[in-house]
């Protein structure tokens, strides 16, 4: 529930900022749509619009391929502050 409450107001953050294209190297942009375990957050929780969800999905997958963000964070490789590492 706690997580859901975080996303209570549902509007597309990317629309608000008038984003035309999401660059996969821009990790700050992707961060919002990633869970703590680096899964792609679903639209029903983030409130992203379809257009931007598709963009962000493509960008996240590209970032994963280039080792900018991990594919998975499992129990063996849990880090305390996953987002700190990326910066």
């Amino acid at each position: 529930m706690a997580e859901r409450r975080k996303f209570k107001k549902r509007y597309c953050r990317y629309c608000e900022q008038k984003v035309d294209f999401i660059d996969y190297k821009d990790l700050q942009m992707l961060k919002f749509s990633l869970s703590e375990r680096y899964k792609i957050m679903p639209r029903r929780l983030t409130g992203n619009c379809k257009k931007h969800q598709e963009m962000v999905t493509a960008a996240i997958k590209r970032a994963r391929q280039t080792a900018l963000i991990p594919y998975i964070v499992d129990r063996k490789r849990v880090v305390e502050n996953p987002f700190e590492l990326i910066k």
Partner: protein, 146 residues
Amino acid sequence: MNCYETLFVVKPTLTAEEIEGQIARVKAIIAEEGGELKATDDMGMRRLAYPIEKQERGYYTVVYYTAPAELVGELERQLRYNEEILRFMTVKYTNKKELAVFDKMVEAANKKPAAEKAEAPAAAQEEAPAESEAPAEEAAAEKSEA
């Protein structure tokens, strides 16, 4: 002629000059095959999100260029053969919105170099033994005293 962006990761075990050499090689391939280099963005030594070929870190470089489509195949072939390259990815920018972003990124990358050059030697020094850093600090201290 299309707009492309290629990101590649060089092995961290190489020396600074060798890394420069690898980057120069990629640029040479682009020039040879009739591409036009727009900008290069040195992201520097970064931690990889997961180990690749047992390496934990890598030297990231992005090149922006316009080129005929055949170039990409050739460039990727060469990158694949090159054992010093851990990972690479080419992205093509086609429609208007993407091209606008491409131009913006090229501009940003071109503006960056002044700041980047200051950072690059610093990153290189991290690789070097601590001895080389100590004199630098001393020199800085002396300067501040003087």
